[in-house]
Symmetry: C2
Subunit: 464 residues, 2 copies
């Protein structure tokens, strides 16, 4: 490491109290995107961000969308041929409910002692306000010291990530020119341990549908009709039971036809993580292996598709008893998709499956809510390589290259609209209680994150 | 028919306006047993009944129970060796909800024109206040004319039939001596058509349980965990799917072991009904045959046991989407039982079935809510025979002998505690909208019911 970058890292550590003061202000906005009563908080939070970015000498503005506003900023201090990085963050957070489970008020940032040293507790500390501050502070420190950045920097901070970014794609379409860049940097994912950084190099896609099974035209008394009519709950149960075979494979026609096996190199990266499946399952009370036979846990989590019923309901579900044979039964179904699969083809298979499983006197309706394709980040992309080198310099060990089982629609949006690959370099920990009461972000993660982004900027110097 | 009984029948028809005036008063009590806010209405309704029975020259009283009060009355005008009949009715009704679907206020009795002539519309007209008035009015007219009854008559009117008679068994135990009789007469069932009377000669029993399947210790994100954990909704669905085999038979171990086939004579009675299965199913939008293979519809409805899931729920069931793998999934299960089966043995089979179907990492809890055995009324009992003769005299055709698929716990209670068989001679019609908005009772059914009970009393004269 150059002595120059060492000085910046020391500065970052020394200035942590200032960083925390700014984060505390950011946290204080109750920017809950799913709750319309917080519309004014969303706008106020955007205006705060604009002032922050302007303080960094950037052009910044609040842009209205069909949903919550988006903040855009541009730094114009780099050379015209410098790499152009689009930093993405989101200022919205999940609702703090259940409030009674918080030890401290959710929007008042506090510092506590924890197993990894000091930790920052409040809604949004890890997802994503604190994580986002890692690159904001790196940009601030670099620019304060050098007067300019080593890369052209644009920033997009949206307010709808927690509600699946409904306005983002349209916004990217309308502002394609302005937002063009060479790569997108996102700090909204997990590392492996406080001393073990990670880059996420794939995310699964997602498809949503709702199944409605209708039998009798009205709810029936099970005494009068039990034995001579079809029960929609039984039919739906048989349908769900048949969705997986004895090997845990999904039986939807054509489900695996287009599944791409990941490159051997990627599987090797995953293998090197020595993923602690026992610990992962044990923390939620499970011990056994589940899912597709003859596939590693990493494959089942990250590179293999799956199908889950996320909700089921029908008949009488209140307290007590009511012996009804219901007219309808319902299920919410989702599939996690992997590269090669398209939501359109999978939903066609789902329709075929349920139609074939429909007995006489029953109607099945499939409401399809759309899908998001899987994404794979090229692990040898030059910017991803720069991030890997940066993490290695900071942590003195190779970053783990991991997959993500979940879905971030925005990553497909950036790829589809702007042609950008996303560098998923996040500093959250698996125990951050993201979306839950007492969300936290370890101070050591905040500090290491700022350091990593500073060194990433340093790496960009040589990419010019 | 004797000229004396003809005179009484004419009187009953002439006095129908008075009968309707009394029924209107009875209907006006909002005696909704499931709603604690109607406690005072229950008591007031009981006091009204006591005054009615006292007006018939009976000893009557309101008896408090652990739940709603019971009205007891005794007539002492018959000879000591006359048959002793215990008349049963219930003054409680189902809630009128949904109120907006009523054409007229639910507790204000009105007379309308309908397909079978005039009909009486209000909550409780058929179930059971109007049906109960058939024997109250018969007793009134007979006694007014003769000064005494041809049978020793006791009356029990409970206020908890619609909530499964929780206080009745205890009350019968405590008052066994006082309530001893030779037979119990109940008018709370259906006839086949306005001109086709019926006696119900069997009712199925009932067993209730709730199944809870627990997998992970908390709800999981289906992105992070989908593919490596067990999904309780899938497990519960497989369990439910396996409850029936391809022939529609219940697979619970031992389920059919003790099932008694009904006497051939009973099956012949059922066959003679020429039950209109197509019409029965068509009225609820179904066409096909369902249930146990190689059994007639009458058997499947009345003499064969069945098992239904009455409710199912688990995971996210709100509007929109939440990709959760839930910690638990739940189902409400009930079985209709037939003679020979005991609830204790069936629940043991249910426990065995679910235990055997439980995979690794899953716990299944069975909450058992108790059971009621099936009952069969001996169709050649002397009092049942008297009722059959009475119906034939009034309707000039044989009464159909039908089964009932539902469950009336009170019938087992009367048999178990008092050793009484129940004569189920009701005058409701299948389209009475019992428990639903715009409940009605056809005037022709009320009149024929009073006539039938008068002739039944006449039949009792010769049984002395």
């Amino acid at each position: 490491m150059t002595s120059d970058i060492d000085r910046l890292l020391n500065l970052a550590s020394e200035q942590l109290p200032d960083t925390l003061a700014r984060l505390k202000d950011f946290i204080a906005f109750e920017s809950i995107s799913t709750d319309p009563s917080h519309k004014a908080d969303m706008q106020a939070c955007c205006e705060w961000l604009v002032r922050e970015f302007e303080a960094l000498g950037m052009e910044a503005s609040v842009r209205q969308t069909t949903g919550h506003p988006i903040v855009i900023a541009h730094d114009r201090t780099a050379a015209a041929d410098a790499p152009h990085i689009l930093y993405y963050g989101h200022y919205d957070v999940q609702p703090p409910a259940p409030l009674e489970e918080w030890r401290t008020p959710p929007f008042t940032m506090v510092i506590e002692d924890g197993p990894h040293g000091k930790r920052i507790v409040a809604r949004g500390t890890s997802d994503d306000k604190g994580n986002m501050m890692t690159w904001v502070e790196a940009l601030r420190i670099w620019k304060a010291e050098h007067g300019s950045l080593p890369a052209r920097v644009s920033i997009i901070v949206e307010g709808e990530e927690e509600i699946l970014s409904p306005s983002l794609l349209g916004f990217l379409k309308e502002n394609r020119e302005e937002l063009s860049a060479d790569a997108c940097m996102i700090s909204d994912t997990l590392s492996l341990a406080p001393d073990h950084p990670a880059l996420t190099i794939s995310m699964r896609g997602l498809l949503h549908a709702e199944i409605t099974v209708t039998g009798p035209s009205c709810d029936l008394h099970s005494g009068s009709y039990g034995g001579v009519v079809v029960n929609p709950i039984h039919v739906l149960s048989r349908m769900i039971a048949g969705l997986h075979d004895a090997d845990g494979r999904v039986t939807i026609p054509g489900f695996y036809d287009d599944v791409e096996e990941p490159p051997a190199e990627v599987l090797k990266f995953f293998d090197e993580l020595n993923f602690d499946l026992d610990g992962f399952l044990g923390s939620v009370g499970l011990r056994g292996e589940h899912g597709e036979a003859n596939r590693s846990a990493e494959e089942r989590m990250w590179t293999r598709p799956c199908c889950d019923i996320n909700g089921i309901w029908g008949g009488f579900i209140g307290e007590g008893r009511k012996t009804v044979i219901p007219s309808t039964a319902h299920a919410k179904l989702s599939c996690r998709l992997v590269p090669g699969q398209t939501a359109d083809k999978v939903i066609a298979g789902i329709r075929e499956y349920f139609a074939a499983a429909t007995p006489a006197d029953v109607e099945v309706k499939i409401d399809y809510f759309g899908g998001t394709p899987a994404v794979r980040v090229p692990h040898d992309d030059r910017y991803v390589m720069a991030a890997r080198r940066a993490l290695k310099r900071v942590f003195a060990r190779d970053a783990g290259l991991k997959g993500g089982g979940g879905t971030l629609p925005l990553i497909s949006d950036f790829k589809a609209e702007l042609g950008l690959d996303c560098i998923l370099m996040g500093f959250g920990m698996p125990d951050d209680l993201v979306h839950a009461p007492n969300e936290k972000f370890d101070l050591v993660c905040l500090e290491a994150g700022i350091h990593s982004h500073l060194v990433f900027l340093d790496e960009l110097v040589s990419l010019r």
